[in-house]
């Protein structure tokens, strides 16, 4: 089974779960005065879930023929691309999300930029570090002062 049909199966699961929630779990807690309304909060989701299940089934059962075309990246040969780098970058982004508050904006951002270039194979530290620092400080300045959105610049223990 090709990837697009596997994904259709996943989406079908999503639609079924959504439909279950809409059809069976939402209406019980509705207040009596709401039940007199012609439309309930669950009406629109009910319609959507049915349509979604039908459309996902159409793909899953291959009812609509499509000609195979050369994709930009062939997922069957994913290992031949720079998969490791992509995964590491994703992990780096998750780490950034977790560190942004505790470590502060400046340290996390510089680390993200430096490590990002490092993962991609850059080794010129004398360029990487200044570029990352300048970018981090200037973006922080723009967001904090020009746009007026507070971002904690330094780690919490330093009182930032």
């Amino acid at each position: 089974m090709a990837l697009d049909r596997w994904l259709a199966l996943v989406l079908l699961g999503v639609c079924v779960a959504y439909g279950y929630a809409a059809w069976f779990t939402m209406d019980g807690s509705l207040a009596p005065f709401m039940k007199r309304n012609p439309i309930w909060p669950s009406t629109f989701p009910k319609v959507l879930s049915v349509l979604g299940i039908i459309a996902a089934l159409v793909i899953l059962l291959g009812l609509e023929k499509s000609e195979p075309k050369a994709a930009d990246i062939d997922y069957r040969r994913l290992g031949e691309y720079n998969l490791g780098q992509a995964l590491l970058l994703l992990a780096l982004m998750v780490a950034y999300a977790l560190c942004l508050r505790p470590l502060g904006f400046l340290i996390s951002t510089s680390a993200l930029l430096v490590l990002g270039s490092f993962i991609l194979g850059e080794r010129k530290w004398h360029i990487m570090l200044p570029v990352a620092l300048i970018a981090a400080v200037s973006v922080w300045y723009l967001v904090q002062v020009v746009l007026g959105i507070y971002m904690r610049p330094l780690p919490g223990i330093l009182g930032g």
């Binding site: 990837l3 959507l48 720079n82 971002m151």
Partner: protein
């Protein structure tokens, strides 16, 4: 009309807004030039900046400038490197790149700039004429018609998705609508589908979703498969075109501005379709001698897609500004930004806030002029950005994606949602699922449900569907739009199998 014209001129010519146009065009050109980054990612990245400015006219002017600039920048990399930065400029590389190979890169860029300028300007003129007319019709619409109109728009997007893609586009649209129902809903503000998670109470963030759908997968694709950026490093010189060439492209520009604009107005058919169609049409109607030149460096073949894609970009603003229904991913993002700024585009926009509408149109003229006057001489220098190593570029793209999602909500959980959705979107992109319908569905979802709920309450049930002829008609169009492609595909297949074709 004249009054609106002057209001717009007054707003657009303020120093701040002029700077916005110039800045937007330059940023758009810069980033649009990078292969792999389309206008949707760029606009998604620029949205937090635009929203925090707080002035809707300025924000829309900035974003429209970025949009234009991105298309213009995309054609530059198509011509110089044969690496289109934007899907809408793929057709420009058919003739632009051969011209550059023949040492006529400067000339190709000039032709592209003039064609874009003419396409954009004529498009803006048409917008000025058609938008007010359309919006006065739209003022007669009832919420039932609005609901039906949105259904038509969404099904048109699915119908234009191409052979074998209709079901996929439909699923993505429905998924977008489903995601829009998460959070506090249209009726009674009851929280729905939050699974008890507080962070989902207000629904998914639109910027987060836009970033996850466009910017992140594109960046990941750049990591997975580095594009070869080695062009002919020849100097760009001789920007002038001859009178004969100007004469040759003038009728092409005229035809393609009109055609491109009207294709752009249709929901789902944007700059990409307009440019391919424009190229095909011009090749077919060209005399035999010139037809052979297409694909080998014909000025006509370059002018046609360039004019058409810019005119289509302008055309796509018509449904956005008059009906409040975006027809493409880019205008959907613009709509999201406008809603965040407390402006609801639609027929009332021209009555309630005419300065926004007219300022945008005026800034389109100014933006086109700036792209012509400012960018053309600067192109040889701007093209240097193509030599920025990707080792530096990609971390910055990722960083701006994260930043955009973060400063909108000031919530680190949003970043995790971003990465999660980004991975899902990349997988969907692998399997050739279109991503723009999801975002359009997501943005239209709340509006659609509101209009649906309102008409249900007015008619105390679903009877509004058959009691209002216009609603019924629109919904019938929607059904036909979805059914037609699969019917045609089936008939084509039957014909292949040797089945006789009935009348």
């Amino acid at each position: 009309m004249l009054e609106g014209f002057l209001i717009g001129l007054q707003t657009a010519l303020s120093v701040q807004n002029l700077l916005m146009v110039i800045g937007g065009c330059l940023i758009g050109t810069f980033i649009g030039m990078l292969p792999g980054l389309g206008p949707m990612s760029i606009i998604a990245i620029m949205i937090p900046v635009a929203i925090s400015m707080g002035d809707p006219s300025a924000a829309l002017i900035l974003l429209a400038g970025v949009y234009y600039g991105a298309i213009f920048g995309g054609s530059t990399s198509s011509i110089l490197l044969n690496a289109p930065g934007v899907a809408g400029t793929v057709a420009s590389s058919f003739d632009g790149y051969p011209m550059a190979r023949q040492g006529k890169a400067g000339k190709a860029l000039t032709v592209a700039a003039i064609a874009s300028f003419a396409g954009g300007t004529i498009g803006a003129l048409l917008l000025m004429i058609f938008a007010p007319a359309l919006s006065s019709v739209a003022l007669l619409f009832h919420s039932a018609e609005y609901f039906a109109l949105m259904v038509v728009g969404l099904s048109a997007i699915a119908a234009f998705a191409g052979t074998g893609q209709v079901a996929k586009a439909l699923v993505m649209t429905l998924l977008g609508l489903i995601m829009a129902t998460v959070g506090e809903g249209a009726l009674f503000n009851l929280p729905r589908f939050t699974m008890g998670i507080m962070d989902l109470q207000s629904g998914f963030g639109f910027i987060t979703l836009a970033m996850a759908m466009f910017a992140l997968p594109e960046a990941l694709f750049l990591v997975l498969k580095p594009k070869d950026l080695q062009g002919d490093d020849g100097k760009i010189k001789e920007l002038r075109i001859t009178g004969k060439e100007a004469k040759a492209i003038a009728p092409v520009i005229g035809r393609q501005s009109l055609q491109g604009f009207f294709i752009g107005v249709l929901p789902g058919a944007g700059a990409t379709i307009a440019s391919f169609l424009g190229y095909a049409v011009e090749r077919n109607i060209a005399p035999k001698k010139e037809q052979d030149e297409f694909g080998k460096g014909s000025v006509k073949g370059l002018a046609a897609p360039e004019t058409a894609n810019n005119a289509a970009c302008t055309g796509s603003f018509v449904p956005l500004l008059t009906l409040g229904i975006p027809g493409s991913g880019t205008t959907a993002i613009l709509l999201g930004a406008l809603i965040a700024l407390n402006v609801t585009p639609g027929p009332r926009l021209m009555v309630d806030e005419p300065q926004i509408f007219w300022a945008v149109i005026m800034s389109m003229f100014i933006g086109n002029l700036i792209l012509l006057v400012l960018n053309l001489p600067l192109i040889p220098y701007i093209a240097r950005i193509l030599t920025v190593p990707r080792n530096y570029l990609i971390p910055f793209i990722l960083f701006f994606t994260l930043m955009g999602a973060y400063i909108g909500q000031n919530n680190a959980t949003e970043l995790l949602i971003l990465v999660g959705f980004g991975i899902c979107a990349t997988a969907l992109k692998f399997a050739d699922y279109p991503l723009a319908p999801l975002l359009i569905g997501f943005i239209l979802g709340a509006m659609m449900e509101n209009n649906f709920a309102r008409s249900m309450q007015l008619y105390d049930g679903v009877s509004f569907i058959w009691e209002r002829p216009m609603t019924l008609g629109l919904l019938a169009i929607a059904v036909i739009l979805v059914a037609l492609p699969s019917y045609r595909a089936r008939r084509a297949k039957a014909r292949q199998d040797g089945v006789a074709e009935g009348d």
